[in-house]
């Protein structure tokens, strides 16, 4: 053996899967393309401008922060995902400087100041959207485009009007750039599901619990048309498949993901039905993000071969009762003995 090249040594395991962080991010970007593409088709080229500005602003912010920190992280593509998601959550008429400001806020304040990728406790895109919603409420809820009046289906529903369900599924309604077309969102979601990047735990429990909430408290009972309009309208689909499933800000445990989905469904229901605004997905997810550490703590998996604390308690209690019973019996018998 030639001794010119030294062998590499490391701890086990010595093989790694092909999945990488930027591979995952790239897949998410690809999966968002149908929604983004439809947004551009439906709202015109201004939508493309908004998307480009936000993505540029998130990437440049992360790049500049990387220079300051002397550690460059834009290669993981997470900034692109954040920028794209933010753009899809903005109305097409938004002034471009506000879109750019949102990008800066998402990356600098929500992500990098908390330690960068993986450390942020809120979804950066949604936190930025909420920041803009509070700072520029009128601009952020101005959904007029072309010649349309600009009332979103949810706003129409809230005021007791009727909506055309088919238009909502295709996406020919008012709304933010990426939320209108259910078909485009589901097409993207299918890509992620098939690649195993997301699973149905959160989206399914989110949408189902929301539907149940609407049936119970929506005031329309089991009205399929109203229910479908609520599910397909607003940011629910985009939120459930692309934002609630964000790795960093959702619980890591399987059980916790179901709980998280249900929490989001209920919160969205509360905000939409009892709140003053027609929409509530962004706030629900942000609030849900804050509950994640608690949910994770409560749903830690029971290690293989161990007994869950609850079960252990139940077993201990049973054992105690058994011992007590035996003691009772023994003392009763003892008493009898005395009598004899």
């Amino acid at each position: 053996m030639a001794e010119d090249k030294l062998l590499k040594v490391s701890s086990n395991p010595h093989i790694r899967s092909k999945v990488t962080t930027n591979g995952i991010m790239l897949a998410v970007v690809a999966a968002l393309m149908p929604a983004a593409g439809f947004g551009i088709y439906h709202f015109g080229f201004r939508a493309l401008a908004v998307i480009l500005v936000t993505v540029a602003s998130t990437v440049i912010t992360e790049f500049l922060f990387g220079i300051y920190k002397k550690k460059q992280t834009i290669g993981d593509l997470s900034a692109v995902v954040t920028g794209l998601l933010l753009a899809l959550n903005l109305p097409v008429s938004i002034p471009l400087w506000i879109a750019a400001l949102g990008g800066v806020f998402a990356i600098l304040v929500v992500k990098m100041l908390f330690g960068g990728l993986g450390q942020n406790f809120m979804n950066p895109a949604l936190a930025a959207r909420c920041f803009l919603l509070i700072s520029f409420p009128a601009l952020m809820t101005d959904f007029s485009y072309d010649a349309f009046t600009g009332a979103t289906p949810l706003a129409v529903l809230k005021n007791g009007g009727n909506v055309e369900l088919w238009d909502m599924i295709v996406g020919k309604t008012a709304g933010t750039i990426g939320e209108t077309s259910v078909i485009a969102i589901l097409a993207g979601a299918c890509i992620l599901l098939l690649m195993g990047i997301i699973d149905l735990r959160i989206p399914a429990s989110y949408i189902i619990s929301f539907a149940v909430f609407v049936i119970l408290f929506g005031g329309h009972g089991l009205n399929p048309a109203y229910l479908c309009a609520q599910i397909c309208g607003g940011g629910l689909m985009l939120g459930a498949f692309f934002m609630a499933t964000d790795y960093v800000t959702r619980p890591i445990t399987a059980k916790g993901q179901y709980v998280y989905g249900i929490v989001l469904g209920v919160l969205t229901g509360i905000f939409r039905i009892f709140g003053p605004a027609a929409e509530g997905v962004s706030y629900a997810i942000i609030l849900g993000n804050l509950l994640v550490p608690l949910i994770e703590k409560a749903t830690m998996p029971v290690a293989f071969g161990k007994i869950s604390p609850l079960k252990q308690k139940a077993m201990d209690a049973k054992e105690k009762r058994r011992v007590k019973r035996i003691e009772k019996l023994a003392s009763a018998e003892g008493g009898q003995d005395d009598e004899e």
Binding site: S11, S17, Y247, I252, T253, G305
Partner: protein
């Protein structure tokens, strides 16, 4: 019926095609043989020969150094050249007996073997003990201790571990295919110790020819069943294997015997058979020499003590310059930096890879994707344990069941950020175990 398996686990590229069709070939050592005194869990063996002594094949050269220990036998005839520290696969220098091979293979007179039924229970255990048999799947735990649990009447299953879930390894597969009767014979010997026990030969589905063969040979045997397991790593890990075959769960602080089980590797069972039927101590084992850097991947019957250089030579040398050489499988084996080390009782493979995937990948930030949680067979949260380990948070590590990790490597394998999860958790575990001992 649902397939027998466990939750979690991974499906890496298995690489078994390289060597699975190559029949076992016995190779005779040419150079010196080195016998580390510590090839098992427990106290090192104590040499009973000294420099200059002439020894025969099968002669005792070191006796057990305590209760948890195992004796070592010469696998060739020759002269004791030295008793000195020599490097072993882990990179440590371990006191070893070095024997210069005279090439004559003169053997001692082995105690006569006899049919299994003529052995008493005590005799079987005594034979296993004196033959120096240890768990040959990789742990190296002295087998006679496993075979003498506190309450032998409570043992209900004796499981032969033929899962061989590690990628690239084919030594157990070839053993089961070529010497199935020895495997069954060894299992029956163990069953004689436990009157109530049923023997289970557990094999992964990808070795369907082994399953069929074993089923055919044990058709009329009421005490032996062959179970097909789902092909998945780490199916052959002791706890996962017990769960898959019997539905019972044990944790890190329990022994298989607590669940009424005894688990032994295929090669170990064959060694038991050889010790009983032929009277021979443990002197050889099957080693798979494979990997994309090897010219002719093969399965060899190797005398313990043989230098790794000789194994590579027998396999036709290197096809390309290897970047990484692993003693054992790619998931749990040791990366070695020097081929000048001996084959031990627990070395199941020598894997030579032309590319090292690990060093080419830079670890990045954890994105909490949860893949490690999904695959963990121990059902812990590796990403959280790693944080605890990095921060020296012992309390958090223990509270989050860090000691339940079986170091199988699944978490590091799937991590998209390429974080060294297993390595970090493993070193924290080692520290905790060392503390416990004190």
């Amino acid at each position: 019926m649902a397939k027998l398996t466990f939750t979690g686990g991974i499906h890496p590229y298995d690489g078994k095609d390289l060597s699975k069709d190559k029949a076992i070939r016995e190779i005779l050592p040419k150079g010196d043989l080195v016998y580390p005194l510590s090839q098992h869990i427990g106290a090192p063996a104590v040499p009973v020969v000294k420099k200059g002594d002439h020894v025969l094949t099968g002669q005792l050269i070191a006796e057990a150094g305590g209760f948890v220990s195992a004796p070592i036998y010469a696998s060739v005839s020759g002269t004791v050249k030295a008793i000195e520290p020599r490097r072993v696969v882990t990179g440590d220098n371990v006191m070893s007996i070095v024997i210069e091979n005279d090439g004559k293979y003169e053997a001692v007179e082995y105690p006569a073997g006899k049919p299994l039924i003529k052995y008493s229970k005590e005799e079987i255990i005594e034979r296993v003990k004196t033959a120096g048999i240890v768990g040959m799947g990789g742990a190296g735990f002295p087998t006679f201790i496993k075979l003498s649990p506190k309450e032998p009447e409570k043992i209900e299953y004796v499981i032969v571990n033929g899962a061989e879930c590690e990628p690239y390894l084919t030594s157990d597969y070839r053993r089961m295919l070529e010497e199935p009767k020895k495997v069954i014979g060894g299992l029956k010997a163990i069953l004689r110790l436990f009157d109530k026990a049923v023997g289970i030969i557990a094999i992964e589905e990808n070795k369907h020819d082994c399953i069929e063969l074993m089923r055919r040979l044990t058709k009329n045997d009421k005490r032996v069943v062959v179970k097909a397991l789902k092909t998945k790593y780490p199916q052959g890990a002791e706890r996962q294997l017990i769960y898959a075959t019997t539905g019972r769960q044990i944790n890190s602080s329990m022994l298989p015997a607590d669940a009424g089980c005894i688990v032994d590797n295929v090669d170990t069972v064959v060694a038991i058979y050889t010790a009983l039927a032929e009277g021979k101590p443990l002197m050889e084992r099957i080693v798979t020499v494979t990997g994309d850097a090897i010219r002719k991947p093969r399965n060899f019957k190797v005398r313990i003590g043989t230098n790794y250089h000789e194994l590579i030579e027998e396999a036709g040398g290197f096809r390309v310059q290897p970047e990484k050489i692993i003693s054992g499988g790619p998931m749990m084996g040791f990366g070695i930096f020097d081929l000048d080390v001996p084959t031990t009782k627990i070395a199941s493979a020598l894997l030579c890879l032309s590319k090292d995937e690990v060093s080419a990948m830079e670890p990045t930030a954890c994105i909490k994707c949860g893949r490690c949680v999904e695959v963990c067979p121990g059902r812990v949260v590796p990403s959280k344990l790693m944080v605890c380990a990095i921060n020296d948070d012992e309390e958090g590590f223990l509270k989050n069941n860090g000691m339940e990790c079986c170091e199988c490597g699944c978490c590091s394998y799937v991590c998209p950020a390429k974080r060294p999860l297993t390595q970090t958790i493993k070193s924290m575990r080692k520290m905790q175990l060392a503390k416990k001992k004190k």
